[in-house]
Subunit: 157 residues, 2 copies
DNA sequence: CAAGAATGTTATGCTGTATAATTCTTTCGG
DNA sequence: CCGAAAGAATTATACAGCATAACATTCTTG
């Protein structure tokens, strides 16, 4: 006797079931798909400077806040301090940032000359991505998206 | 001689540097923070039914598309088919879904009675989360957010 | 000065995700 | 009909992201 069988659900020529069904109404699902797509594009865009999004964000933050302390920086970025250590170690190894002792237990973070140059290149590349995003959703929608996302981030506290 | 030192950057009473600086303008960063916050809330909300977001999404998809084939389901959810296997195995082990052979190499997916009951409970719980989101950003913004996210997801293709 | 808090670090595990290779089955062209 | 190719599910594996606990050192404060 054969195993129990079933007629397969057919979707030939139809739209993607997940983009049709109830999942489309879920904020979390939409955010996840969008975030993955955007990150993928950013990663590809920044490949030339060999920067992952997290690394890029550190450079941006340190550039805007020279001397920021490790614990402040990691908290501000929503990264556990424990996970922040190898991140910084790698950036320091590549000569992009400096950890400068403020006192015996505290490090201030600074971009090196090379770090600033790399960030400049990264920002130039990022402009391409930015333009791609704007081409898809429009400048107005992008600004509104960010505003809504900032509000949603409040959920985490 | 002491180690090189630096004055620490001060932020007493000031707003979070990452929420002030250039990072705030980046779509990817905003999406990531929002997605993490929303997922965290969903995870906490669905803890009572012991469903992770990915598991929840599978139940929703299968419920809306009974008999959907594994490969279609995984592709539709943006999950690698290899990673989809243990996900389904766990849901099957818990008696929430059935893998029914369509032919020797293909499985159709169905919710069990228990699976439908669990999904019903999960959806009820999710309503609470949904209300929390709406309370923060408003219904109109939620709908617009989803629309924008769907467009952004196109970046991944 | 002693107790406690702060900072950075190490170690560790879990989850999610990506890729390659394998097995088994079905389809299809000659 | 039969062998080759393609399809579906699975296994194995590796890596990045994220969380927690424990720890060493240093600073602060009563």
């Amino acid at each position: 006797m054969r195993r129990k069988q079933a007629e397969p659900a057919e979707f030939e020529g139809q739209a993607d079931p997940a983009l049709q069904g109830p999942l489309q109404q879920y904020v979390g699902y939409a955010l996840r798909r969008a975030q993955l797509a955007v990150f993928q594009d950013v990663i590809a865009t920044l490949a030339d400077v060999d920067l992952r999004p997290a690394q890029f964000s550190v450079l941006i933050l340190v550039d805007a806040n020279p001397g920021i302390v490790q614990s402040h920086a990691s908290a501000s970025l929503g990264i556990q301090k424990a996970n922040f250590v190898p991140l910084l170690t790698e950036l320091e190894r590549r000569g992009l940032i400096d950890r400068v002792a403020v006192d015996g237990r505290t490090n201030g973070l600074f971009l090196t000359r090379k770090g600033r140059a790399t960030l400049k290149r990264a920002n130039a590349l990022h402009t391409v991505h930015h333009a791609r995003v704007d081409a898809i959703i429009g400048t107005e929608n992008r600004e509104q998206l960010i505003e809504i996302c900032l509000k949603l981030a409040e959920l985490a506290r």
